[in-house]
């Protein structure tokens, strides 16, 4: 493979990591509080607001059931408003963030709901405020689950990022389609797939490792 092509792969990998990294950060920044709220706003919970909970749930489900490629195209005006343009890796971060936020929120919600209700009651019994319960009980106890959720989200984002090539987002997926498919270069397609597989393995291993490290329950079993 020629040095130019290798350069292309390196550049595309950089674009993919940039899009996925920023989108994962933003998705977590929005998705974590949203997920905590979804878990704690059900009837009888800390921030009980069943009606708000249901409305948010519907919005989250609607976003999650929209195919990503359609979401990308549908929100082009919004993307232009936020990023100033609808083309390029930076613009692609907008749909990636919008798609990952509800996904992360649902994973966070599931992890938080796994926390033993007895712990919440215990913290209430010694006078912890709802916010203290969230930060001193729910999030730290759910941390292994949260880390695994984030890992899953990053892996999914890598998959999504391959689709934003359709709107000039760049990245590995774009490279694979333009060179590997449209220019009949199977070796390029193979290289892109190998890099993606390596990235996913890396992310998953790192996530597993971190989750195991914070999980005292498993560590001492």
């Amino acid at each position: 493979m020629s040095p130019e092509l290798i350069n292309l792969i390196i550049q595309a990998t950089g674009e993919s990591l940039y899009m996925v990294g920023i989108a994962a950060l933003l998705g977590t920044a929005f998705g974590l509080p949203l997920g905590v709220f979804l878990a704690t706003s059900r009837k009888g919970e800390l921030y009980a607001a069943p009606l708000v909970n249901r409305v948010l749930g519907i919005v989250v489900n609607a976003t999650r059931s929209t195919p990503f490629i359609i979401l990308v195209v549908a929100i082009i005006p919004f993307t232009r408003l936020i990023a100033g343009t609808s083309i390029g890796s930076t613009a692609a971060i907008v749909p990636l963030t919008i798609a990952s936020t509800p996904f992360i929120a649902r994973l966070v919600e599931a992890a938080i709901r796994e926390v033993d209700g007895g712990l919440i009651e215990t913290a209430s019994s010694f006078g912890a405020s709802p916010l203290q319960i969230v930060f001193k009980v729910l999030i730290p106890e759910a941390l292994p689950g949260l880390l695994l959720a984030l890992t899953l989200a990053v892996v999914s984002l890598l998959g999504y990022s391959a689709m934003v090539g359709a709107v000039g987002g760049g990245g590995l997926g774009d490279l694979g389609i333009r060179y590997g498919y449209q220019r009949f270069m199977p070796e390029m397609m193979l290289a892109v797939v190998v890099v993606l597989i390596a990235l996913v393995q890396l992310v998953q291993s790192a996530g597993d490792y971190l989750a195991r490290r914070v999980n005292r329950r498993l560590r001492h079993r």
């Binding site: 913290a123 006078g127 329950r217 001492h220």
Partner: protein, 346 residues
């Protein structure tokens, strides 16, 4: 100290499930510095009752006064401040698995806004108090059930509460560990003067630790008072059934299988004598045999001590036919023993 005034608690109907009257007409007081056992079967309302004391639940009607304050009227920040003076321990310990023993004990102090240095000193003190100073850096997964409950007790006492609530705290522990934990609670009550309210379905817990007892059934207080008074003269069937758990009212299998309803020649009449009160059972067999000149057989006996009073029953075999039985029953009744004829054995 803790006073329930005309309390009722109703859980409203929800999603097709009918509403539940968990507690009704609850009116009693728990004296300062006492150890009070609240005993009842599952669903009797024990958990609801204890959660009214620390404001985890609100009564539907009535008031709960703790330390001269109506805790049922408090909310938000005021309630959270009041909760710091009421500790609670749980059946399943409810420790944070990702924190060490010391970290778990520190949690209520962090929430109360103590400084790091103060927390450190207090945690060391508490670990020593509950006898696990060497487990400072251990995670809950590395501790035994008894050690976990000791951490729970230390955590509940961290903010120096005046009341300690125990929600079936020994129900998940083996008998030996239960005894050790109950001893620890007795020490804490004696040395720190903390009022302890124990809810339990185990008579053995009440018997070993409590001085006052409240018997709950179907959301009502059916009996309450000193442990010795209640269990030497149990009035309500539920109290009697709890007492039977300790003293047992079933006959040994070999005896029960030989029991007949008609006397046989040369056989014995089987009589059960109830023993109640200090030293009551000590000499009854000897005196009965001497006074009536009968070879009284002791077929089975169980006497236990509850609140310093003897409680139990003796099963006696009386030889010598109907005349001897009549004389025996008359003697027992004359000496204030309650007795009944169960049958005959050959």
């Amino acid at each position: 100290m803790v006073r329930f005034e005309a309390i009722s608690k109703t859980y409203p109907a929800y999603r097709g499930k009918p509403g539940v009257n968990a507690l009704q007409d609850i009116d009693f007081a728990i004296p300062r510095g006492s150890i009070t056992g609240v005993i009842g079967r599952s669903g009797a309302g024990k958990s609801s009752l204890v959660r009214l004391i620390n404001g985890l639940e609100k009564p539907t009607t009535g008031r709960v006064i703790v330390d001269n304050r109506d805790i049922s009227a408090l909310a938000g920040r005021e309630l959270r401040l009041a909760q710091r003076s009421i500790g609670m321990i749980f059946q399943h310990f409810n420790l944070r698995s990702s924190r060490t023993a010391a970290g778990n004990i520190a949690l209520p102090l962090e929430i109360a806004g103590w400084t790091k240095a103060d927390i450190k000193a207090r945690v060391a003190e508490l670990l020593a108090l509950v006898g696990i100073a060497d487990k400072h850096d251990r995670y809950p997964s590395e501790l035994s059930g008894g050690q976990k409950q000791r951490v729970g007790i230390a955590r509940a006492l961290a903010t120096r509460p005046s009341v300690l609530l125990s929600d079936e705290a020994t129900s998940a522990l083996d008998p030996q560990t239960t005894r050790a934990i109950l001893d620890l609670l007795a020490n804490i009550n004696r040395e720190l003067g903390v009022t302890i309210v124990l809810i339990t379905h185990e008579m053995s817990v009440v018997r070993q630790l409590a001085r006052e007892v409240v018997v709950l059934d179907g959301g009502h207080v059916v009996e309450s008072g000193h442990v010795a008074d209640i269990f030497t003269h149990p009035k309500h069937p539920i109290t009697q059934s709890f007492l039977a758990e300790v003293i047992g009212d079933s006959l040994p299998v070999s005896l029960a299988s030989r029991m007949a309803s008609e006397p046989s020649a040369g056989g014995q009449a089987v009589i059960r004598v109830q023993v109640r009160g200090a030293g009551a059972g000590d000499t009854v067999v000897a005196r009965l045999a001497r006074d009536l000149g009968l070879d009284v057989a002791l077929l089975s006996a169980r006497i236990d001590e509850i609140g310093g009073q003897h409680v139990g029953s003796l099963t006696l075999g009386i030889p010598g036919g109907e005349d001897a039985v009549t004389r025996t029953l008359a003697w027992l009744s004359q000496h204030q023993f309650s007795a009944e004829r169960l049958g005959y054995v050959a």
